[in-house]
Symmetry: C2
Subunit: 383 residues, 2 copies
Amino acid sequence: MQSQSIGLVEKRFFHLPASLALEGGDSLDSITLAYETYGELNQTKSNAILICHALSGDAHAAGFHLGSDKAGWWEIMVGPGKAIDTDRYFVICSNILGSCMGTTGPSSVNPKTGKAYGLAFPVVTIGDMVTAQKALIDSLGITRLLSVIGGSIGGMQTLEWSIRYPAMVFSAIPLATTQRHSALAIAFNEVARQAIMADPNWQNGDYYEGHKPDLGLAVARMIGHITYLSDTAMRNKFGRRLQDKDAFSFNFDADFQVESYLRHQGNKFVNRFDANSFLYITKAADYFDLTARKSAEHQPAFAATTTRYLVVSFTSDWLYPTRKSKAMVKAMKKHAIDVSFCEIEAEWGHDAFLLPNPRLGDMLSGFLDRMSKEYRNDNTHAL
Amino acid sequence: MQSQSIGLVEKRFFHLPASLALEGGDSLDSITLAYETYGELNQTKSNAILICHALSGDAHAAGFHLGSDKAGWWEIMVGPGKAIDTDRYFVICSNILGSCMGTTGPSSVNPKTGKAYGLAFPVVTIGDMVTAQKALIDSLGITRLLSVIGGSIGGMQTLEWSIRYPAMVFSAIPLATTQRHSALAIAFNEVARQAIMADPNWQNGDYYEGHKPDLGLAVARMIGHITYLSDTAMRNKFGRRLQDKDAFSFNFDADFQVESYLRHQGNKFVNRFDANSFLYITKAADYFDLTARKSAEHQPAFAATTTRYLVVSFTSDWLYPTRKSKAMVKAMKKHAIDVSFCEIEAEWGHDAFLLPNPRLGDMLSGFLDRMSKEYRNDNTHAL
């Protein structure tokens, strides 16, 4: 079958009916979630898949918005005949709490003041993001998701879903992710945050009526891009090749292609992303730690879930290397969980899950197909 | 034999007698080099060792300055009875061109304007640093160094010495270094430079009469410290341990020890280092590429040297990993060079060469002892 784009799609908005109690102790009123859906929910509501996006992603996972030629961020994977086949599945993607792509976050208007929250926005966790998503899924009348899928911080949400709402998550596919951030991952995030907070325009987060901390955010994004690639990926992509010149400039222009690439990524990012959202989402990722989590019965996190997992890592991912995924799989297996694990050979580093990869596509479609069958045969369906 | 500190030492200054022609095409007048020496030069001037320092180092490698209790940066390695034994060897260390620790650099007064150079200082190379050092060694009446030793960027200078002035370098010990920067190493340096240049106080390098770009420099240093450690080193040193608290702060304070550590390193650095020097020295390191260098006979860099090498790498160094050293050793061996190579098990990442390590000490002292004997027996001595 020929795969194609889902075509025109629309961003929608869901307003949470009640305030959300947050893990940090605060509660948050008037939350809006931006989301998109692709495909049709079937009569038994058994074909719903939730896609969770990463740090700088949004609800626009596939297709095109009216008047734009920019495809969704996972267009390669989501659409009719694609690995996540919208002819078969009803796919939902929502922008995470704390972000700036339509969902409530630090750049949103605080109803109490009529001005942007800034740092008055509470620090949210991956758990809070998932709790907000659950309200959306509830509102769609879906009691159990066929699968939750996500990479990187989206993978953390995927894991969180399966731990927090196990009865609602028939299967889960955490990609290129980890049960918790290493000191190294925290270090990268912290330096990126410091770059933002060092920008005088940051103004302790209260910059929405003045100049934005673009220079700081650009540096933060550059740090991020170093972690998304890998030594190998950079060598293959750039090596020591010079940018548009035959010799060194002997000044502080970008001599090397890798320098131009990073500057470009940094400058591009500031046009579409909010610096405070970068702070909040990276903090949520740093706080995430499934290994420290206990179930209601004081058991390890995976003791209480019945979710079936497909865990995928990528050989050149140095942010969340394969050994992190293996530790996760080991923790799952201790509780006799149905888990498949695959390490995919890919030289693009952490970003690999976003790039075309037939092996990843085949693995997702095969797993989802098996899950569809098992879901139909599962007696515990009517929970 | 008991090892001890060399004790009180003095910083000296050498004024280059002539202007220096730089690789970038400019020339530089009125260069001063800060340097220190330890031990005594013997009658045959055959016991001289030059130590080359890394990015943020200085001429103060060992001992103490009057009124200060801060030992030199390689106190563990240099002194009476130590691996680099000042009872046997005459040890020289000089601050590199472009730095800010007594040697001429961008923070020095430009004699043409009476003001600090700032970006009017020419971009210098590792080769230029070495050419300036050679003038110092010449002035001391030393025609051949028993050894040149250095780690990281100091290792680049060590290699450069052996290629540029092979007849003057009987042996060389490049530690934790590389023939050239990878795209990844350039990327880290570039983001660090961008952090400095993003600081509004940087003022295009012209900040010496106003506020310094401390916030940008601190972020740059934090990026550096991520590369000096390693995933393993950070896990062992910090893991996910919290700083002075039992629970997350749910704000943007430093929650984790690794965050406090990086902030501390960043803040400490701005008191002792010049932001422009950081730009110049990292640029010199990025430009360094022995693999692209040809001898006068259009042969590879190592074709024309007779230097004996001891190459040392460290298992957890991810900035200049062992495979970089192995590539260097391979290039040397192609030209039948006398080279010993050792990878030392060390979990502290790139910084390992600065930390106590009996194995490294034994290796240096053993190699230097062998070199002393070979130097004495060498017929080509009188060049």
